[in-house]
């Protein structure tokens, strides 16, 4: 018989939370790059790409935000992280609505909103992966 010691749960971040949080920045960044491509080429397909990338980004941001709120309730997450993620969600939502405009009507707002939300997403991801240390690491 092998005796096993059950270690206390020591995830710095829950794998699911990590997976969805990890999707937030690339998708917002992708939308930003697509917006820049439309800005510089007038090629409408880039605006379509940006709109769909934002939908993906919002799905991941929503899931990450839910994980963050659960963490807040269970006192494993700080309020600051959840607030930055919530700000990302709000700006991302405004940006998604803004991208529903037709053709050049999204410019220059689309580019401005995408820069802001990408910075927020970077910040949220940074805090989300850096702020919590569990176990031996101090």
């Amino acid at each position: 018989m092998v005796s096993t010691a059950v270690p206390p749960r020591s995830w710095a971040i829950h794998p699911f939370h990590a997976a969805v949080l990890g999707g937030v920045l690339p998708l917002f960044l992708g939308a930003l790059l697509a917006d820049y491509a439309y800005w510089s080429s007038y090629e409408i397909q880039w605006a379509n790409f940006a709109a769909w990338l934002l939908v993906g980004a919002m799905v991941f941001t929503t899931l990450a935000l839910l994980c963050g709120i659960v963490g807040l309730v269970r006192r494993t997450r700080r309020l600051g992280y959840v607030l930055v993620l919530a700000a990302t969600w709000v700006v991302g939502f405004i940006n998604a609505l803004h991208h529903a405009r037709d053709a050049w009507a999204i410019m220059p707002g689309a580019l401005v909103w995408s820069v802001i939300v990408t910075v927020l997403a970077l910040l949220a991801t940074w805090i989300g992966f850096a702020s919590l240390r569990v176990g031996g690491v101090r």
Binding site: N48, R101, A103, W104, A105
Partner: protein
């Protein structure tokens, strides 16, 4: 200042802001040759007010005193335009076209919402013939004249030929007086631009001398959001040689010329055109205009003459400089889908002018359209404000019972109106006798 004061202040500022938003601006004059055009505007979401369909029941649309209305055909499969044949029979084009894919998340959501305001009936893709053999105003015969068509819309007649503008081709039926069923499948005159077909309706009129057919072809987008490449041969009126099928652009920059008519006497081509959406409730007025040969009417670069639409990039100042303003604004978002010149047999109030069928708005609150109006003419030009001829399609209870599309004048003195929500054909005649039973 304590927190309570701050909160009260915040609430009152918010209330003031909301009040400012809901304050109604004085209504703009958007009728006639020089409509007032506000600055373009779009909020976070476009204004959407979608028709809530309901059945007519015992009700009928409202007509002026001294006129009566009756439903001469019901249970059709999306009637759009009608044609009165020389013997008084009525042909009805039934169908729904378009194959525009959803390009953006917005298209998916808006498509679902807009569908609520339309009929759920399947596209008929056919021509139905209605006949009133004894002339009592009751069209006792309803039979399929031709089927297996592809979203037929525009109808015209030259001699013994009936021309039908399908969403992808102009076709011709040989016709013998009194015929109730086409003897053979139609002959193709020419293909029409049909890729995507964002605006799929192909309107049709025959020149007075019977030599040419005019086909109205709508744009492939609201305002180039599907790219300029798909706008080749779109937003224009083609002139087609009836004998050879050869075509050339007759006029361009007409965003969606949904109905065409030839003016009696002058032989001039007139059109009603649906203008662009999503730059505010009072932009851009749909219009009625005589169509000048070689004329450029602005779309997509500008509207109502030389008002630049900044949503189109790159812009084209040269095209804008050449844009001509239409003749007569009908109001923004009314969605004019039918036009027909009247005849003295329609009675003194409507002796000289055109009837216009207004399908009704989606991009506006409060909604507009949902009626048939009469634009009086004098010396061959629009003169005066439109008069409601058929209304009550949108009830005061907020329910929508019908949406007018094509209008046609029967020379014997009747206005024929196709209703693509109630799937009904209405007939309006001078006279005060009780309406024929439905």
């Amino acid at each position: 200042m304590n927190r309570r004061t701050v909160r009260i202040l915040a609430v009152s500022v918010l209330a003031a802001a909301l009040a400012a938003c809901s304050q109604k601006a004085p209504p703009l004059n958007q009728i006639g040759a020089t409509p007032e055009l506000p600055a373009p505007h779009r909020g976070v979401m476009p204004d959407m007010t979608i028709a809530k369909p309901a059945a007519w029941g015992d009700r009928v649309p409202t007509v002026p005193n001294g006129y009566r209305i009756s439903a001469i055909a019901t249970d059709l499969a999306i009637p759009r335009q009608t044609l009165v044949l020389p013997n008084g029979d009525i042909l009805v084009a039934e169908g729904r076209g378009g194959s525009a894919p959803n390009l953006k998340p917005k298209d998916v959501i808006a498509g679902k919402i807009k569908a609520k305001g339309n009929t759920a009936v399947k596209s008929g893709n056919r021509l139905t013939l209605l006949r009133d053999a004894d002339g009592d105003g009751v069209y006792e015969m309803k039979t399929v004249f031709a089927d297996k068509l592809n979203a037929p819309y525009g109808l015209a007649m030259i001699g013994n030929a009936i021309y039908v503008a399908n969403q992808d081709a102009l076709v011709r039926f040989d016709y013998q007086p009194g015929q109730t069923r086409a003897a053979a499948p139609p002959t193709k005159v020419t293909d029409l631009p049909s890729a995507i077909n964002h605006h799929w309706t192909k309107s049709l009129a025959a020149s007075a001398d019977g030599r040419y057919l005019y086909v109205g072809i709508g744009s492939n987008s609201n305002i180039t959001e599907r790219g300029m490449a798909v706008e080749l041969d779109r937003a224009q009126v083609w002139q087609i040689d009836a004998a050879t099928g050869a075509h050339r652009p007759f006029a361009t920059g007409l965003r969606n010329p949904t109905a065409l008519a030839i003016q009696p006497g002058t032989g001039a081509l007139w059109a009603v055109v649906n203008e662009r959406d999503e730059i505010g409730p009072n932009l851009v007025p749909d219009y009625l205009t005589s169509v000048r040969e070689g004329g450029f009417y602005g779309w997509p670069y500008s509207y109502w003459g030389k008002n630049v639409d900044t949503r189109v990039m790159p812009q084209n100042p040269q095209k804008v400089a050449s844009a001509i303003a239409p003749d007569y604004a009908l109001g923004s978002h009314v969605a004019a889908l039918g036009v027909a010149f009247s005849t003295p047999a329609m009675g003194a109030p409507f002796a000289d002018g055109v009837f216009v069928g207004e399908h009704g708005s989606w991009n506006r609150n409060p909604p507009v359209g949902y009626k048939v109006v009469f634009v009086p003419f004098s010396n061959g030009r629009p003169a005066g404000a439109p008069v409601d001829v058929v209304s009550g399609f949108r009830g005061e209870d907020g329910r929508t019972r019908g949406r007018p599309v094509g209008v046609t004048v029967d020379q014997r003195g009747a206005l024929i109106v196709a209703d693509d929500l109630a799937n009904t054909i209405w007939r309006i005649t001078p006279g005060t006798a009780p309406a024929a039973p439905r």
